[in-house]
């Protein structure tokens, strides 16, 4: 018994130190964005490719209302319900006071300006692969969007997931900025990979997750359950299931029409609205990349 206590006394501080080290938020170096000059016009392209509005606008917003990023949409998950925060340009309720470095830490490291971990419902696991230049451009574009004075609501997440520090373990296990699809890629496929794996964050819905919410990279884009829905799945968009031609995929991302002229529904309709703002070459690039993804058998 005494030996056990002694063992505990030795191991507990080691465990605590390890926990502290592993779960410590890791922001970018101070000079990460040095020398980059913002291009707000390109920032708008990043904005649509990144789909910021889909989650941060008011539910059902269309047209110019999509640019009012006051938050408030609710997202059910096995870990609780997350509520999109206000990322409008309001200095008090939104991110109006954020520096470019703050946005870069949020998107590339999942760390808040105060140094806390964000929940990965904010798709930084994908955004982390974005170029610093794109983040700089996006910051400049966001600064020109309307201010919304609605305060952000707290997430409805229970113990232990309400301890933000523990998200460091999630990051330790799953945060990985390596490209999933590698090998010989054409410039078009490489651009598509950037749009799908990073900004477009397609895997957030289309790739299955394990019990702790990490991706199963062996079934990349192979389809996944919809949280909070007993039926229905996010579809498998690998060549193992999706047999549409590249032209079909590009058209779908432009008009939302499937090859049978049905149209996109649910959250995907929002993605189509976003992608319709991009250049035709970008939509074609996504299609070219999707054909390169290893097929997942349904």
């Amino acid at each position: 018994m005494r030996r056990l206590i002694r063992l505990f006394l030795v191991l507990a501080p080691i465990g605590a130190i390890l926990f502290w080290l592993i779960t410590r938020p890791s922001p970018l170096p101070a000079d990460a964005l040095a020398g980059l000059v913002a291009d707000p016009a390109h920032g708008e392209q990043v904005f649509w490719a990144g789909g910021c509005a889909s989650c941060h606008m008011a539910k059902g917003a269309t047209g110019d209302q999509m640019l009012s990023l006051g938050g408030g949409q609710r997202f059910a998950s096995p870990f609780g319900t997350f509520i999109a925060p206000n990322i409008s340009n309001d200095p008090d309720q939104g991110i109006g006071r954020w520096s470019t470095q703050d946005l870069a830490n949020a998107m590339l490291r999942g760390v808040s300006p105060k140094g806390a971990h964000y929940y990965p419902i904010f798709p930084y696991a994908s955004y982390a692969k974005a170029t610093p230049q794109d983040v700089v451009d996006l910051r400049a574009y966001l600064a020109g969007l309307p201010a919304v004075a609605t305060p952000s609501a707290a997430h409805e997440v229970g113990f232990p997931f309400n301890i933000r520090r523990s998200l460091g373990i999630w990051k330790y296990l799953y945060f990985n900025t390596d490209w999933v699809v590698t090998g010989d890629l054409t410039p078009e496929q490489t651009r598509g990979r950037y749009l799908v794996e990073s900004l477009g964050h397609c895997a957030e819905c289309h790739t299955p997750r394990d019990a702790l919410g990490g991706w199963d990279r062996t079934r990349w884009l192979g389809g996944a359950a919809i949280p909070g829905m007993p039926k229905g799945r996010f579809p498998n968009i690998t060549p193992g299931k999706l047999d549409w031609s590249e032209a079909d995929i590009a058209e779908y991302l432009s008009s939302g029409f499937t090859p049978n002229y049905d149209s996109a529904g649910g959250h995907m309709a929002l993605v189509v609205t976003n992608f319709a703002h991009l250049a035709a070459e970008d939509r074609a690039a996504v299609a070219a990349y999707l054909k390169k993804v290893p097929p997942v058998t349904p």
């Binding site: 059902g60 229905g232 058209e251 008009s255 029409f257 090859p259 002229y261 149209s263 529904g265 649910g266």
Partner: protein
Amino acid sequence: MKKLLMALTAGALMTGSASFALDLNDPEEIVTARHGYMLMMAMSLAPLGAMAKGQAPYDAAQAKTAAGNLAALASLDAAMVWVDGTDAATTEDSFALPEAFANPDLRAEKQAALKAAAIELASAAGSDVAALKTGMAAVGAACSDCHKLYRKPESE
């Protein structure tokens, strides 16, 4: 015996024909009509989409006809296929969420947006393939604007 046989035949014919009779108030029939309406719009879009995707050569006359049909369909007063009591919660084949019936004015507004986009497409489709593509994207946005709000997500 002959009489009996005739009576039986007549009876069989009557029951047989009864099952083909349309009941315009039957929710299942209304859902079938709604799906037929959607399908006819899809069929009008098919030749336009094939040209937009480069799967068929651009043909100004054909594009004009197809887009004209779509504009005609989109201009119908579709309230007749949006009858209360035909949503997915009550009617087996329906994908329409109850929201589609809760606010008829909003639904009519969405239909008016589709009509405007389809008429725009009909006037552009005959000029060139670039105008056709732009028009298609606007029509697609109008379609999905409704589907986002009103259609139950399909399972894979």
